[in-house]
Amino acid sequence: MTDKIFDVEHVTLRFGGVISLNDVSLYQNRGEILAVIGPNGAGKTSLFNSLTGVYQPQEGKIIFVGRNGKPTSIIGRKAFRMANAGVARTFQASRMFSAMTTYENVKIGAESHHGIGVVGAMLRGPATRRDEKRSDARTNELLNFVGLAEKANTISSSLSYGDRRRLEIARGLAMDPQVLLLDEPAAGTNPTEKRELVKLIRRVRDDMGVTILLIEHDMKLVMALAERIYVLNFGSVIAEGTPEEIRANPVVVEAYLGTSTEKTDSK
């Protein structure tokens, strides 16, 4: 048996009458780079939001195996609890603390799991100062890792799209997560930035040992990175396999290109 980090079983998520995820089952192994692809509106982001506690699916089970190796159920847990349990994420449209500098953005991630509460913060005792030093060191380390060290004091909203992605990744990594969920990381980046991003994501897995779950439209990036791929369409998993298998799968081709009769008029 392999070491699973996520195990999603028969998850259904509805918004009123609209079914966003329909009986979705999938899993991810620890240390794997897994991609979820699918056309717009296929339910990819809904799946992400269910995994991070933002949405609460009505049916099914989602099991997450955290640091301690104990499987825990995600459904019903709040987003900040999932973050503390080791699930970090980025957003489709980058969400940074836009009036803060790059450095401050990452530092907030780094100190999120310190135990010092309000009294410690008021008194500024040795424990607080030690924590502060540690999160400063960690912040610098991560800014170097993602290559944003020179832009540490830039206001984050003036960063380019590519840099925003790196910032989000650094902020996520600052929490020492088990798994990093990337929601369309290549959106709005140019080809050079894309290549850099592929390298960076690989380094995150290889050097930091963080499992990667990826949603992406950009097939090139997915094919270059992913070790295994799930294809979603209309809220259901329609295919699963290695990049080669997915590329050759007629069902996937159909979902993306339309049925053969429609091929001429749809994308």
């Binding site: 933002v54 957003f91 907030i108 309000v118 913060a121 008021m122 607080t128 902020r171």
Partner: protein, 448 residues
Amino acid sequence: MKELLAKTAVRRLLITVGVVAVIELMTGPPGSNTEPIYGFSHSFGESSSFFGLFRTQRWVAFFCLALICWGIASVWFSQGPRIKKSLHDASAMPRRAFERRPVRWAALGALLAFALLLPHIETQPFWQAAMVEQISVYVLLAIGLNVVVGFAGLLDLGYVAFYAIGAYTTAWVTGALPTPPLFGHALNPFWAIPIAILIVMFAGVILGAPTLRLRGDYLAIVTLGFGEIITIFANNLYGITGGSLGSKLIPHPSIHLGPIKYDWGLAPVPYYYLTLGFIVLFLVVFSLLERSRVGRSWTAIREDEVAAESVGINPLKYKVMAFAIGAASAGFAGVITASQSNYVFPSSFTLSFSINVLVLVILGGMGSIAGVVLGAILIQTVTEYLSHSPPSGYQPSDLYIYLGALLVTMMIFRPAGLIPSRRRKREIRLSEVEHEGHLDEVLTGDDT
């Protein structure tokens, strides 16, 4: 005519004169049933000499005021960037010096020394009383509300509730209410200070836990309601709070602790020192908090709650914390007011009181401790001055018209307040960009 109106300067002059004319008419002498436009006609009455105009004719003074405003605005709009730049350059040296720690500590020490000596410099009884009742108390309230509104970004329109709870707690523990006091026997108001602060913080948690799940406008409405509920409780629970008659005599605080013996009596100056001590304490605690992990988490929640949650910040916990911490200084202010004036009445805790404190925070600069303190001192001093020695033609009931005009002007020219907090200023600029879209201009603009 059309060409003349097309000129910005001319249009600006007409607008300024128009606005000032409205203020002049609103603040002028009231009309009556028989002569409803008395205020209007009277303000254009005859005058014997040219200089007499200035003394007797309000409209002359107001017209001059309009011209002055117009002049300032014209210069500012044409020369503003250059003036800003030269001011910026001129202040570069002192600013750089101020960034050094010893200089800053020395400046703060000098300010504290001045605050300590103030009752000996200003010896008029009116001002000594005003220093405690109007200025210090409002400074306390403003720095507390600043934690809630400025740091955590929660619009609280019922802040007066905490002030009221602080005051009523004082009355309660000193046995001045119809209810039996805490622990069975009456305590001295001095010991009400820690008790009131704890109770008010607890009230902040109780209030915050259910309401802070709401966001933005909804929260503002709910807090507004809470402020009203507390006042209505105080008014209606006759057997507990004494109803609209308020409390019996609340004693003055005193301390008898071993060799330390001190009685605060009727004179305001001892209260001034007591309040000053607590203001310094609250300022230290709040500014340490602002620069700590807690302060950064507040900022994160204020800027993007979803992103804050994604890095493991529990928004509800930090919001409740802000509510409780911000309430503490209001609780203390309540103790001072109750024990110095000897009475509490429900009618003193009104909605307009909450709004007043909020105005001080907005004018001073949301999120900036120095700004909020300055704003509170400035506005309260001017208000007191106007009520103490009103200039001719000023009526106390017109105060809010002037304050409102000031607030509108401030929001146009300095939306982040007198001494803006850097981050707030950036946030305001960024939100302007979202609506107008001159990103480069905003991001390259100076940040001081």
